[in-house]
């Protein structure tokens, strides 16, 4: 069951009863291996007879193209970006996440509200404002925070993408052309923001400095317990 409970503000048209699915969030900074773990977990859940779905940041039918286009032009201020991401989020919450939970799926979410909140705070957003903007979000059944140091992320990111992304290096607000230094500075500050949120939002911290397999084993063990009550006894 996913409890129909939000972070303080109502979501209009929200179901007034608990939903049979489970909302499981995989969070963490760039390059910690979230999408790999989500893909593995989905397959593992399906093999074990669960219905599993996945969604991720900036993948909404409504806003994903707009966000991509806006990023290409480098024309997006942090504030506009915050609200664009919030639009993307609510579209997926209402059109993908809630329907999946209603239908009894395990919804694996690659980044939820915490990543866009962390990126906003790292860019100087007013904390009270951004937490309230996302106040309509449903409280997940579990949030796994894949935590890795910038030092262990850098080789993975370079191997996968061969460069440091303009936005993931925070160059949009840090300026200059030193993408490497910017990346370290920015990612460290995002990690700080995640760390600061972990108590308030009851993050389950997973050490993602390790290889894929031990991380998967940890996640599997905890998720097994969460989904256990979905099986008929």
């Amino acid at each position: 069951m996913t409890k129909m409970q939000t972070y303080g503000y109502p979501l209009p048209g929200m179901p007034d009863h608990d939903l049979p699915g489970k909302l499981i969030v995989i969070e963490g900074t760039d390059g910690v291996g979230r999408s790999t773990q989500v893909a593995l977990l989905r397959e593992w859940l399906e093999q074990n007879g669960y219905g599993a779905m996945q969604t991720g940041l900036a993948r909404s039918a409504l806003a994903s193209r707009g966000i991509t286009k806006a990023k290409q032009g480098n024309a997006l201020s942090p504030l506009t970006m915050d609200l664009f991401y919030a639009t993307d989020f609510v579209d997926r919450l209402e059109k993908e996440i809630i329907p999946a939970l209603r239908a009894g799926f395990v919804m694996l979410t690659d980044r939820y509200i915490y990543a866009p909140i962390a990126r906003a705070l790292a860019r100087g957003a007013d904390p009270e404002w951004i937490f309230n903007v996302y106040g309509f979000a449903i409280v997940p059944d579990a949030v796994f925070y894949l935590r890795a140091s910038v030092g262990s992320i850098i080789p993975r990111v370079l191997a996968a993408r061969a460069e440091f992304d303009y936005w993931e290096s925070g160059t949009d607000f840090l300026g200059g052309t030193d993408f490497f230094q910017n990346y370290r500075t920015y990612q460290n500050s995002v990690i700080e923001q995640f760390d600061a949120m972990s108590q308030r939002f009851k993050f389950r911290i997973i050490d993602a400095n390790r290889e894929v397999y031990p991380v998967f084993v940890d996640l599997k063990a905890q998720i097994s317990e969460i989904v256990a009550d979905m099986r008929p006894r």
Binding site: Y9, P10, L11, P12, G13, A61, L62, A63, R65, G66, K69, A70, G73, A75, L76, S77, L79, T80, D82, L83, F84, A86, T87, V90, D91, E94, K95, D126, E128, W129, N132, V133, G135, F136
Partner: protein, 249 residues
Amino acid sequence: MAHLPDGAPLPGKLFIVEGIDGSGKSTQLDILYKWLLGEGHVVVFTEWNSSPVVRQTTKKGKDRRLLTPMSFSLIHAADLADRMERQIVPALKAGAIVLADRYIYTAFARDAARGIDRAWVRNLYKFAVIPTVAFYFQVPLAESLERILTGRPELKYYEAGLDVGLSPDPYESFRLFQGRILEEYEHMIDEFNLCVIDATDTLVSQQQKVRAIVEPHLTGVLQTEPIAWREVLDRESLHGRYLNFGSGR
């Protein structure tokens, strides 16, 4: 003065117009705009829902009916945020006049009419500059409906509030939805100190009132440079046939 949300004054002036559909606010703002230009002021005009970065997404959401009350609210906030940072605040810092056709009060009224929490949407727009004067063109519902619905124009889905499900009939839905919006506006007059203009008054007399309120705020605002080529035309008896006269709207 216009003020940043933290209370810091900006040298420019922000005048905004609000009111339900058919209140005549856009007409009044347009006439005000032309007058201010004629007086030699630097005037920046901005419209609801016009950010080049965000507009396409809003349009897609409306065309395909993807928008829920919540995403409708957030995408409009994104639109104003973009115009705020790229257009409105820089112009006000430069000391110009900014005219906005619809502002945050449109969002407060429409979103609340769609069932969004009032405190939530007020927080959402905390980034907005506080206007110098916020005009509210007050009109009875029956009058505005008559102005809009005479000739039975085709009403758009969201414009008619059909997403709210008040009635399956677009005209009935529009009436009920506009009624809700009007009620929200009326509650905001005191909350935000809106400057009420009686929109049943004649066009000319409304404009006189608007100008009388705007005028005292115009001392020290940015003036345009006299047009540089005008002198050349006068001295050389040229017409300026190939010059680009693309000013004004």
